[in-house]
Subunit: 519 residues, 2 copies
């Protein structure tokens, strides 16, 4: 392919291949889509990180509508910068950002990411503001030091460096990876192998309250031969991962009532029921000592995994013991089942407990109320309504009267055991069979990318609106994650390992150029 | 007793008796100690309330040593104002205030009160500052309005009015009642029937950490023929109450460990143990559905009540149903036993629960730790050490390894179930038999005061350092409470019903003038 094999150009090309020089990747250099991405990325590492930094600087908690809109407008402008069309889809709440690029008539891939993040408790972070990104030389746990200043646009960036900010991993890094791929292909003059659509959501962490309605309303606009969600952590080995399902989620808050006001524990203890004890007994009734859910019929409506899914789980490089040591767990739940077997089952998690005070501020009182916040993860076959109903029936079977709003005095006085159950709307799981042609094409594209044998998983443990794609839009669906597994997703000190963003560009480029059959 | 029965003086005396005029109660008017107290009180209601207000204006949480000392110095000056000797006894922590008045050689009564109060959460109060007392025309629940300004020294004060402030009832009102009795007797020229000693403690709510050592060190100074504690609420009927015991107390904090950091509940749920669920199961194992403690041997060392105590409990005017309705309880613990039967047993109370977040701030995480704060009330026969040891054995029997400090990584990784148990030092109960001569004398004095049939109770539900008097100083011991039962003791909006302070002066004057036999 060397048109003019003179001495100097050859040396330059060699130096470029070895990464010594920052190339302005041109059409002559690389027509292979993945190669083009690698070259562009290596020449623009600082610029890519800087774009991520700028995107992370916009606060993004769902409900904070002014800032959510700032994110949406920034994303639309980022799409247009790449020559994609872009529009903001109003939902009545957090807007969606839609973009597309490529020739009509080609097979179409719809990439979905979310730009909102979990709420933050800044005091728990090792940086002043979770929306003022901090660059470190490694993870905090590994002693990473803060890097003063940010790299220049063409500077190489150590792959071990980490960007600390809310949504650094979940889920803004994949957005930047996808848009940087467009830059790479444009710089290399590559014709897009598939038509690409982009859908960026601002309400995922709050339960994707508007996405389903928007999908129904914009069915034609969003039509595609494959939906790809770039979210969640990659396998710790770094091998490309493909998850063909995502669990559903519904949250439930329980409030158990005691005396109308806190009572002196000496004068009234042993006599006035303690709502914290009653809540503890109620929660304890929901799981056995192995962490198995005891709620009647909890798994009755689960659609079992098929032979292809079971084979994939067998081939899965289980790393449970590594993770147990990493998280310093002295034991694990589930009676010896692997973590991925357990993820294929619906869950019941206590995400918060609260009653009066603990520690130095604790006072010798019988609390007036005790509250537990739960999250229930759903798998294919479950519905949020049915799962909540099972839980309510379980609670009633423990002798409780269930109310949906705060009870009045008469209700309190006349009801031996009273609990308020507040359930969110939730959403179901979505899952695509592993033998679907699009699923097969994705796995082959990842196998051909030269990034290691793909890790193929029937469903991811996390939740997201997969059902919008599988059930409402009728699309085969896959999650292709790129970020580091130790990213502190949803918690304080969320971070992205820079190398994962760079490698993620190759992974997502492989998927974006997968040879699909149109519908 | 009228020395000069002329016309005008007789009319004035009549008017004074009927309360129309504010008398300068003189020796000619009343030699009866209780009558002198009534007259003085009726002429000085505003002044008495003002002195309480001033005492309540000094913040008084144990540990806040500068303010605790301000309280102590104010109390010493208040004693001296009455002609009592006063000194501050240093303890290394919160100081004691000691005072005495009356002729040596007479029978001696040691009055004990505490001047510290429970910690406050100002945001939960219906007033800006719990140490800026607020006068209301009734309780908040009864629609009491704030009274602007305070009454003048000789103004009458509506007995239904309430003083809202931390320690208004627990335990500064009794201090002001006692010192006002001294004023009354001095104004009436009455020779004190007994020698009176006063001991005011500044660390009671924090567990009386220095009192026992101080009692051992100042045994002679504190010697007395009867110890009287003026603390806790009077019977709701307003009948004088005498409690001849007080429970002990020990606090226990439990911390159950999960993953070293909060984990995504989707990726790790069903597999990584949830410390909030494990804590719930551990707590649930401690009590049955009727609220009975299931810890092995919990009541084994309890000294049973004797015939006199059982007779007193039979005569007790039980009001459990009234209280159940007042506190809006749909059921009560204890399998139908009365509240006072249950109070005579050791208790286990969850005073606080905490793990991550509940409500709108809740996030879909598996918590890293879950904490419960307990308080254990002890009765005669229990010791704090033994009761904690029983609880620890129970926890171990649930499969837990108990540590006393935060575990290191190796401990966490190698221990299937790990809990940190942090127990306070605590203190035991103290109780005087109802047939002790001093107990009999107190009951007779209350019977003779014309304030209704006394309510006699073997032990109060609350805790306090009774054992310091019964066990260390070897004194018969009684609690004579005066404050309203609905005082919100230990909670927000603590308050004193003014009429209880006024009536309490008569009750405490009857005890202070009880005919005791010296040791």
């Amino acid at each position: 392919m060397h048109r003019n094999p003179g001495k100097t150009p050859t040396l330059i090309a060699l130096a470029q291949i070895l990464g010594f020089l920052a190339p302005a990747a041109g059409p002559a250099v690389a027509q292979n889509p993945l190669e083009a991405v690698r070259r562009y990325r290596d020449a623009n590492q600082g610029a890519i990180i800087a774009e991520l930094r700028d995107l992370l600087s916009v606060p993004n908690v769902a409900g904070d509508l002014p800032n959510i809109r700032r994110n949406a407008e920034l994303l639309a402008s980022m799409l247009r910068k790449r020559g994609a069309t872009a529009r903001i889809i109003e939902t009545g709440g957090e807007p969606l950002v839609y973009g597309e690029i490529g020739e009509p008539g080609r097979p179409t891939i719809l990439f979905y990411c979310h730009y909102d993040g979990q709420p933050v408790e800044p005091a728990n972070w090792d940086q002043e503001n979770p929306w003022v990104p901090v660059l470190r030389t490694a993870s905090i746990e590994a002693g990473g030091r803060i890097v003063q200043g940010w790299p220049g646009p063409a500077d190489r960036v150590d792959p071990e460096w980490r960007v600390y900010a809310r949504s650094a991993s979940d889920d803004k890094a994949p957005i930047v990876a996808l848009l940087s791929i467009l830059d790479a292909w444009r710089a290399a003059g590559i014709t897009l192998p598939n038509r690409l659509k982009f859908l960026f959501e601002g309400d995922e962490e709050a339960g994707s309250r508007h996405l389903a309605a928007a999908a129904r309303q914009h069915r034609e606009l969003l039509s595609a031969d494959l939906a790809v969600m770039a979210d969640g952590p990659i396998h710790p080995s770094g091998r490309p991962s493909a998850f063909f399902g995502l669990r559903g989620l519904v949250t439930v808050d329980l409030t158990v009532y005691g005396p109308i006001r806190p009572l002196h524990s000496g004068h009234y203890g042993n006599w006035a029921p303690n709502p914290a004890m009653r809540l503890a007994q109620l929660l304890a009734s929901m799981k056995n000592a192995d962490g198995e859910v005891l709620v009647d019929g909890w798994e009755d409506d689960v659609i079992p995994l098929g032979p292809a899914e079971l084979r994939a789980l067998e081939r899965f490089p289980h790393d449970d013991e590594v993770q147990r040591l990493q998280f310093q767990l002295g034991s694990v739940d589930g009676k010896g089942r692997t973590r991925h077997e357990l993820i294929a089952r619906p869950s019941l998690n206590i995400r918060g407990l609260q009653s009066l005070f603990v520690g130095p501020g604790a006072r010798t009182l019988i609390p007036s109320v005790a509250v537990a916040s739960l999250d229930l993860r759903l798998v294919a076959g479950n519905t949020p309504q049915r799962q909540v109903e099972k839980l309510v029936r379980h609670i009633e079977a423990q002798g409780y009267t269930v109310v949906r709003e705060d009870p009045d005095s008469a209700m309190r006085v006349n009801t031996p055991r009273l609990v308020k159950v507040e359930a969110g709307a939730g959403y179901p799981a979505g899952r695509t069979p592993l033998d679907h042609p699009a699923a097969v094409a994705v796995v082959r594209a990842l196998e051909g990318a030269g990034l290691g044998e793909p890790v193929v998983v029937p469903t991811m443990g996390g939740s997201g609106p997969a059902y919008v794609f599988t059930d409402i839009l009728g699309q085969p669906f896959v999650i292709v994650p790129i970020v580091n597994h130790d990213n502190n997703q949803h918690a304080e000190n969320e971070n992205l390992r820079v190398g994962n963003l760079f490698r993620g560009m190759e992974i997502l480029a492989a998927v974006a150029s997968a040879p699909l059959r149109p519908r």
